[in-house]
Symmetry: C2
Subunit: 379 residues, 2 copies
């Protein structure tokens, strides 16, 4: 009777109502019935993206939507800025290079956020830069980028700002239109509580101008096709029908809660998780100035193997958290507070972490982590 | 209490057991649990593809996997052959052009199949052709291409044969290894009875050599990444976890039935549908030499508007068939016998077609279509 609790940064827990929607009989996509669903989904997404621009649905993982923004904006030889402060920032650079664009890379130490002044400096020196690629919530390090500040330095230049908001959208604030963000990319299996397979992208008119002149080859991810289809409330290719229908369940839940309440509740969960870690004598990997409310990266003492912690929590106790990637392998664990995670899930996760730390011989006061989180959740 | 019966060429009906699997709680993909599922899926797919090569899972619609085969095999300026005898054949040409390849196009009248001698003639004249793209079952016209015969003219040349088997795999025979087919592309929402969102691709060693030297830009669809991940029983990007798990349900069903029985049963359904149409005084759009067992394209008399037939069957009676596309709009209807459709579903579809034809004033003997199909199903 093991629990199956996902405190992982994607996929996240799927609420039972959404599971039920996924199990419904299928309908055909070229029907008025499905069009109603698609229309509702796009309207709901626009609210979460905080934009008046259309939001296109792509049947792929988040990376597919990231690629869509590269191959629709940049032609070979174009100039761009990327910020590498973790695995997903690096993905922007890799994507650019795949399309013949050698980016100006801003290297940021893992655990810290980019200083927008660095972006400004490069933009000032290179007026021909077409796009700046950043990561709202860097899942590998638990860092949040100040997207509003980044937009402030990009929006009055010739460049467009492209934000990977895959793991952060609906969890931390991103005001696409108000802040002047040009492209926002997201996916269903994080804040939207869906199974993987559906991604989203929205573009400002300034960004769409680049799409129209872009010379990179693309077909499945060609956003001109998406725009054309959207005019008829359609998708250019067969969409992930089941996930689109389930998306409307998740959008209804999110609307009912309201974005400000959602953001506040994830902030509380994050604070509780951080305080729990500290009470256990552990420290937060991420710099205090940029700790994410999406997930918490906890440093482990040298004598505790993070891979073991993750494995025992999952395989023995049915509670999944993520380990560290690349140079952080074994050194951190990442507890996600995304999607339909509540304070009781966090307490469950922390109490399991305590159980495993105890088993591995780490010295601390049993119950201190849970108590610290409870304190946050009850004040 | 309207029925919701899909006799459409993708998505197809999803059996209740597969719906139930889709509604299960999610598991994380980087776990031994999911790896077991992925391993089982790949082994099962290899049986349906009738190949010893790996089959890669891509999270996208069928078109994404078609694009994967173009952008992994061909570099700009390369030479290829495409066969245009319907919308999906045309898609191969469009995809080639998107990647800087102007194909030798073999034009085939809609409703007829390509003569492999035409492919041979072009291959003989242009020794530098790298790939031949064909469509196993052309969904827009109900035509089946003789893939075995096409493979016979391609396999001893320098070119690779790429087959769009999206709508036909698991329904009509395709012996990838025995026939010497180099690339087979398919998708989950046809013969595999899944919701859209998962596609498959398998490549021969001869084809994979092209992948390694191909210079077209690609990232999400980069099959080198798929191959590398497969070595660790993994996918390069977050897969459509829920659909992969459901795929194993569908593969178990298909295995239990056995491919020869599946092929025979779809052939019987197709024959019953064709005989029903003829008994109603209608003719089959597709040339007799190449009529598909995947779907049946029925010509309507000039006085009957095919769009109306489709609309009334669906909106009034809850039974979905497909209309004609492009120049065939309003002139044909297409009844699919794919996935978990059985003879009673076909009888239901035919009886509904009779009801609607009656309403539209078409003269025929009520019951003659159903009786003709029954006769096929009972001899």
């Amino acid at each position: 009777m093991k629990r199956n609790l996902l405190l992982t940064p994607g996929p996240t827990q799927i609420p039972p109502e959404i599971c039920a929607a996924l199990g419904r009989p299928i309908i055909h996509h070229r029907t008025p019935q499905f069009q109603e669903n698609l229309k509702e989904a796009v309207e709901g997404l626009k609210q979460v993206f905080q934009t008046k621009n259309d939001v296109y649905l792509l049947t792929c993982s988040g990376t597919g939507a990231m690629e869509a923004s590269v191959c629709n904006l940049l032609s070979p030889g174009d100039k761009a800025i990327t910020v590498e402060g973790g695995k997903f920032g690096e993905r922007w650079s890799e994507l650019c290079r795949s399309y013949g664009v050698e980016p100006h890379v801003i290297q940021v130490p893992w655990g810290k956020a980019v200083d927008p002044a660095q972006i400004k400096k490069i933009l000032d020196a290179h007026k021909d830069i077409k796009a700046v690629f950043i990561t709202q919530s860097e899942t590998s390090t638990g860092v949040t980028t100040d997207v509003e500040a980044a937009a402030r330095v990009v929006r009055d230049t010739g460049a467009v700002l492209v934000v990977d908001a895959i793991s952060g959208l609906g969890i931390i604030d991103l005001q696409m239109d108000n802040w002047g963000v040009d492209v926002v990319v997201s996916a269903g299996h994080k804040g939207f509580m869906l199974p993987p397979g559906l991604a989203f992208i929205s573009l400002s008119p300034k960004a769409f101008k680049l799409v129209e002149t872009c010379e990179s080859p693309r077909y499945y991810f060609d956003l001109r096709k998406s725009k054309e289809a959207m005019a008829d409330i359609d998708t250019p290719f067969t969409p992930a029908i089941g996930i689109v229908i389930a998306l409307n369940e998740s959008l209804r839940r999110m609307k009912q809660e309201g974005l400000p309440n959602l953001f506040a509740s994830y902030a509380r969960l994050a604070k509780g998780t951080r305080e729990a870690a500290k009470a256990l004598g552990l420290s937060i990997f991420t710099d205090e100035s940029c700790q994410s409310n999406v997930l918490t990266a906890i440093k482990l003492p040298p004598e505790v193997d993070g891979n073991k912690v993750v494995k025992i929590m999952r395989d023995t106790h049915g509670i999944s958290v993520a380990g560290g990637q690349d140079s952080l392998k074994g050194k951190i664990i990442r507890i996600a507070h995304m999607g339909c995670v509540d304070e009781y899930d966090i307490l469950t996760g922390i109490s399991c972490l305590e159980k495993v730390l105890l088993k591995l011989g780490y010295k601390f006061t049993l119950g201190s982590g849970v108590a610290a989180a409870q304190k946050v959740f009850n004040t």
